[in-house]
């Protein structure tokens, strides 16, 4: 570089206000630092969930479907058992000859929104009841899994050592059992038993439902137990827990500040993933004829019944199929959203 060019010592000698070269105060400095507001883990996760449009839409769909499934039957003009031989296999919004005659006489008849089935029962109310069964199975199974899984996992993780080893061996074995086969086997057995049972509730629920709940109680909680136990064990060994112990944090503070937030996220994620798989299992069993007892409809049994008239009445398949697809899709998408929002590892 040439060194002949003019070099002056103060490059900005006159152009800048000398006041600018006064010392900056701490407040002025602090203004420059845009601090990210600190929020609790739960609030942060909820905020991320709310920002996830797909998850929020799915949640709305689930709430809407649940409202329909539980409220509409209270005022709906048809029941799921009422048969009408004159109104068999009607297409959606079609009226039977008898109903048409009444309408011609000026009576108001509520339309069969989804038509009727082979026995002349209103299809819409049957699909609604089937949806209700699916939702109930999903939610109750999640509850069973949460309760048993947390208790088992917490005990195993808390005690550690030999207790933990034995408890986890049991979990390993249960985990490797083919669950659907066992559900089927139990359903077959329970179906036989239900037919001779005098209990009204069990008879109404049906073999499939009873065995599903038994199997969930026996087998399905293992992944929850594993996750909860894993969380508790790893948190126990985390350096930040050691650190907070070292500065004298009480056990209750450690449980509140570290264990619960970390476990809550895996519990939410695992439970959310549990619901669609439970709904799948129930509909699968109902399709095989092992689910709820007739005349109670389930989306699986509706789809199974629709096969006989599939060529002529394809809508009898489409409606329950769409319904189950919509429910499971919504739960899956909500589950994905919850996982993204609550998984601390994904926090950025």
């Amino acid at each position: 570089m040439s060194e002949k060019k003019e070099t002056f010592k103060n490059p900005l000698s006159l152009q800048i206000d000398p006041k600018l070269f006064e010392k900056a105060t701490d407040e002025e400095k602090a203004q420059q630092v845009s601090m990210r507001e600190s929020v609790s883990f739960m609030r942060d996760a909820m905020r991320r969930l709310r920002r996830n449009h797909i998850a929020m839409i799915s949640l709305c769909v689930i709430v809407l479907v649940a409202l329909i499934a539980f409220i509409v039957p209270t005022f709906y003009p048809y029941t799921y058992t009422k048969q009408d031989v004159s109104a068999q296999n009607l297409a959606p919004f079609q009226f039977s000859a008898k109903e048409q005659a009444k309408i011609d006489r000026g009576q108001h008849i509520f339309p069969h929104i989804m038509g009727t089935d082979a026995l002349g029962r209103d299809y819409a109310i049957r699909v609604i009841y089937g949806t209700r069964i699916s939702l109930l199975v999903g939610i109750f199974s999640a509850l069973i899994v949460i309760v048993i899984g947390i208790i088992y996992g917490a005990i195993s993780g808390y005690f550690g050592g030999k207790v933990d080893m034995i408890m986890m061996r049991i979990v390993d074995i249960i985990y490797s059992l083919p669950d659907v086969l066992i559900v089927i086997l139990l359903s077959v057995a329970i179906k036989d038993w239900v037919s001779t049972s005098k209990s009204d509730l069990i008879a109404r629920l049906g073999a499939g439902m009873v065995s599903i709940f038994i199997v969930f109680g026996l087998l399905y909680w293992v992944s929850m137990a594993r996750q909860v136990r894993g969380q508790i064990l790893s948190i126990k060994e985390q350096e930040y827990v050691l650190a907070s112990k070292a500065i004298g944090a009480s056990p209750s503070r450690i449980i509140r500040k570290h264990m619960i937030p970390n476990c809550v996220s895996v519990i939410i994620i695992v439970a959310a993933m549990q619901i669609p798989s439970a709904i799948f299992t129930e509909s699968f069993l109902s399709f095989l004829g092992l689910g709820v007892s007739v005349p109670m409809p389930s989306l699986g049994s509706l789809a199974s019944d629709a096969r006989t008239g599939l060529r002529s009445y394809p809508y009898q398949l489409i409606f329950p199929a769409l319904s189950i697809f919509l429910i499971v899709l919504s739960f899956n998408l909500l589950g994905n959203g919850l996982r993204d929002a609550f998984d601390p590892k994904l926090r950025s």
Binding site: M1, E3, T7, K9, P11, L20, K29, Q32, V33
Partner: protein
Amino acid sequence: MSLLEVKDLHTSFFTPSGEVKAINGLSFSLDEGKVLGIVGESGSGKSVTAYSILQILANPGRIVSGSIKLHGEELVGKSDEEMRKIRGNKISIIFQDPMTSLNPTFTIGNQLREAILLHTSRNRQQAEERAIEMLKLVGISEPEKRIHQYAYELSGGMRQRVMIAMALACEPDILIADEPTTALDVTIQAQILELMLQLQKEMGMAIIMITHDMGVIASICDEVIVMYAGGVCERGTADAIFYHPMHEYTRGLMRSIPDMNDDGKTRLVPITGTPIDLLHMPPGCPFAPRCDRAMKICLQEKPREYWVGRDHLSACWINVKEGACFTQRPSEEEAAQG
């Protein structure tokens, strides 16, 4: 002409929450056979500088503007295919963590051979011989056996030696070492540094040593760049930086190093505060919020780089205020006065 000339480089990561400006106007040059140190704390843009030179930035990172010239040839804007001929051949890199930088599912020999086959006309047999030769060169015993081993069968220090062998197999002009000793034990650190210097003497390549360890810089570098928040604070010869630091951040770094000759009573002075958020860059000097001597102008306007010595540039308003800088490279007399 310098071997490598970087001018006004800007690299950003376009994340969902906004543009993270990882490098804001970085300029430096590297001469053949020299060792250049880049020092700074985590997040200062040291590694991104290395990845920008090789154009191996992870998605969503991108060079926004600037120029990188190797032997006078512009690299920015080259196609991936053209860049591939440079990577591993003209410019090589070794990474911080040798534990994860080698592919776990292929043998050491396989990975070494691949680099050699890509850039030279050697056949498989010759490439294998070269791989063994390189392993021998980096001081690995029984190289004929090692090439059939997997990375997980080697120790950390050995893996870093393998990485060095792989990087140097095609005799590059520049070796970028991205914190090559950070993940290693202290005793191994010294061995690896020694090995690099020895190989540099034998093979004559230039080295860019990226580190946050001032000790490493002091022991091996000819020139030093001090980076903060994606920009240059100060650059120059190692002597200039160490004996006459002309930026408050560098001075802070120096104060935070323990001194062997100390009587043990002076306390180490940490730099208080935390680095700024690269998503929301303030208009002024990025170090100003943590700077004890910050002035009003520091918060408002970013200082330019000015010469503060013959081989020494610094971007600090205090130098301007004190009249200790030049807009052009000063002559020897001027520098002596300043």
